[in-house]
Amino acid sequence: MTRAKRRRLIYNLITFGLVIGAFLLLQNMIAAKSISRSLRGQLVPICAWIVMAVSLNLVIGFSGELSLGHAGFMSVGAYTGAVVSGWLMNVCALEDATLRLVISIVAGGLIAGLAGVLIGIPVLRLRGDYLAIVTLAFGEIIRNLVNVLYIGTTDTGLHFAFLNRQMPEGVTMLVDGAKGAVKIKPIATFTAGFVLILVTLIVVLNLVNSRAGRAIQATRDNRIAAESMGVSVTKYKMMAFVTAAVLAGMAGALYGLNSSTVVPTQFTFNQSINVLVFVVLGGLGNVLGSIISATFLTVLPEVLREFADYRMLVYAVVLILVMIFTNNPTIRALADRLFGPVKALFRSRKNVAGGEMQ
């Protein structure tokens, strides 16, 4: 086993170990009722945000493209999940909630993945800033479209309408235009969220450490060099983008099925930025960092209520400072001089934690 391989193995073990450990701890705390109500309500959303952050990190950190429409895929997943779950319950009369949840999440992932393919084909021909702005545009288009989407069920099956609400008699609305997805049976569970995180980690960590993952990172580090080595840039960027879209769709389905309504305004550009903050703060290309920052930044505003007003302000400052401190050569050199001795102490551990960065 080479050194790089061993480092990767240790990093992956730490990541999985922490997630599984945290889950077991929380399960025990729930059983012992030593966990506050508000925190319990946050558990499933935290799982969804972790999956969002890890999947966005795949696009930004590993394939090096800034996607600003990640919340769009989440909304596709959330709506699909709500519709599929409602359809299974109302039309197919499927009583088993767990089975319904699993089917809904998988469906959410598939439809979001389909959206990812449709969006990825045009978008990934572009580069840099253009790509960012077009993903943003797609996020807004998706939000605009679900705003005028109407879906309902009757005994005979699903009914769709677009732009104007034309539904047959006796219909049960599942998606009601600007009101969003309504009357959802909240069937998401913490265990399901935990399983989804594990699936995400397995997919992302395996992809990143595979031949395809190295190709993805090569296109990030130097597009032209990678291309001249025979790496198909579009293919690998597409792979990262669609995988992230599928995962975001699954996270969206989980998130949507945790509440009774989903409205289009939940998945605005701001939400995409929120996830971006998780990723940047956790470290680009660092999966464990994304998990930790997504968890803390979701819990923190709940714990510090009075701090909530300043949350976005602080986020903004943090984004700017992190970027300047990690990218300005002068400041980096200064930081190395100041913290060099401290860093040397932690060198062996640092290598493990930062092992995934180039």
Partner: protein, 289 residues
């Protein structure tokens, strides 16, 4: 008649987009960065003008000049504090910083002026022009757009600073070797772009008089779309793209669907980028290894 009304509304909205797009386009052409915070500078300009008109009782022209001064200082400050340290960094890092700056401005505005929408005190008077009802704001907007474009074209073609800008946008390294102060050139670009943003903010709020901290973000994104549409880095391109986009948006809302207006605008962006990524009047760029 409805058609002509829509056309004039479209031209007016498009002129506002065009003025904003000029700021985006110049900064993108010269600093090679997408200044995401540009839309929020518009909002700050509109708020300053609002305060001048509403609280301090300034005449409109003075209020607009005040807004321009504040925005110019703001633009130079943003560039110096946030973007200059990242001159050598990847475009991803700069873009994330710009998004952070956009959020910072929005949230500062939220703290200073509150979340409640304010109604802008300045509005046009309606007049009849050959059987059409036209607002004076519309005419002023369209006229301002034409004047600004002519002035900017002359500025970049004739003045020394304008030439320096063109040099920096062509090849920053070579410009530096020729003794051009790149940092100062970029600062001046930001100053001009931000002053234009202030004008655009006032014009925007005169036509659509609802002012809140997020007022600038959507027009900002659409103006960027306009800049890309017309060919980024090109002054006539920004104008053409802005006007076309405004007309498309108003016609889309009038004849297709009100709710899908934004979606139509963004669909235009995507189609343009796919068919002609350099925009209508843009020059193709070669990538050198």
């Amino acid at each position: 008649m409805i058609f002509l009304d829509n056309l004039i509304n479209g031209l007016s909205l498009g002129s506002i987009y065009a003025i904003i797009a000029l700021g985006y386009s110049m900064v993108y052409g010269i600093a090679k960065m997408l200044n995401f915070a540009h839309g929020d500078v518009i909002m700050v300009g509109a708020y300053v003008a609002f305060c001048g008109l509403q609280y301090w009782g300034l005449p409109p022209v003075v209020a607009i000049l005040l807004a321009m001064v504040v925005c110019t200082v703001l633009g130079i400050t943003i560039e110096g504090l946030a973007y200059r340290p990242l001159r050598q960094a990847t475009s991803l890092a700069v873009l994330i910083t710009a998004i952070g700056m956009s959020y910072l401005l929005q949230n500062l505005a939220l703290m200073i002026w509150g979340a409640n929408p304010k109604s802008f005190p300045l509005s046009g008077t309606s007049m009849r022009l050959g059987g059409l009802n036209v607002s004076s704001a519309t005419l002023i907007t369209i006229a301002a757009n034409i004047v600004i474009m002519l002035a900017l074209t002359a500025f970049t073609a004739k003045t020394k600073m304008g030439k320096a800008m063109r040099c920096v946008s062509e090849d920053r390294g070579a410009a530096e070797l020729m003794g051009i102060n790149v940092n100062r050139t970029i600062s001046v670009t930001f100053a001009i772009g931000s002053a234009l943003a202030a004008i655009a903010g006032v014009l925007l709020c005169t036509s659509y008089p609802i002012l809140q901290p997020t007022t600038g973000s959507m027009p900002g994104i659409k103006a960027f779309t306009a800049a890309v549409f017309g060919g980024i880095g090109s002054i006539p391109g920004a104008m053409l793209g802005g006007v076309l986009l405004g007309v498309i948006e108003i016609f889309g809302k009038a004849y297709i669907s009100t709710e899908l207006g934004d979606a139509i605008v963004f669909a235009v962006l995507i189609v343009v980028l796919l068919v002609k990524p350099t925009g209508l009047l843009g020059k193709p760029m070669r990538e050198k290894v």
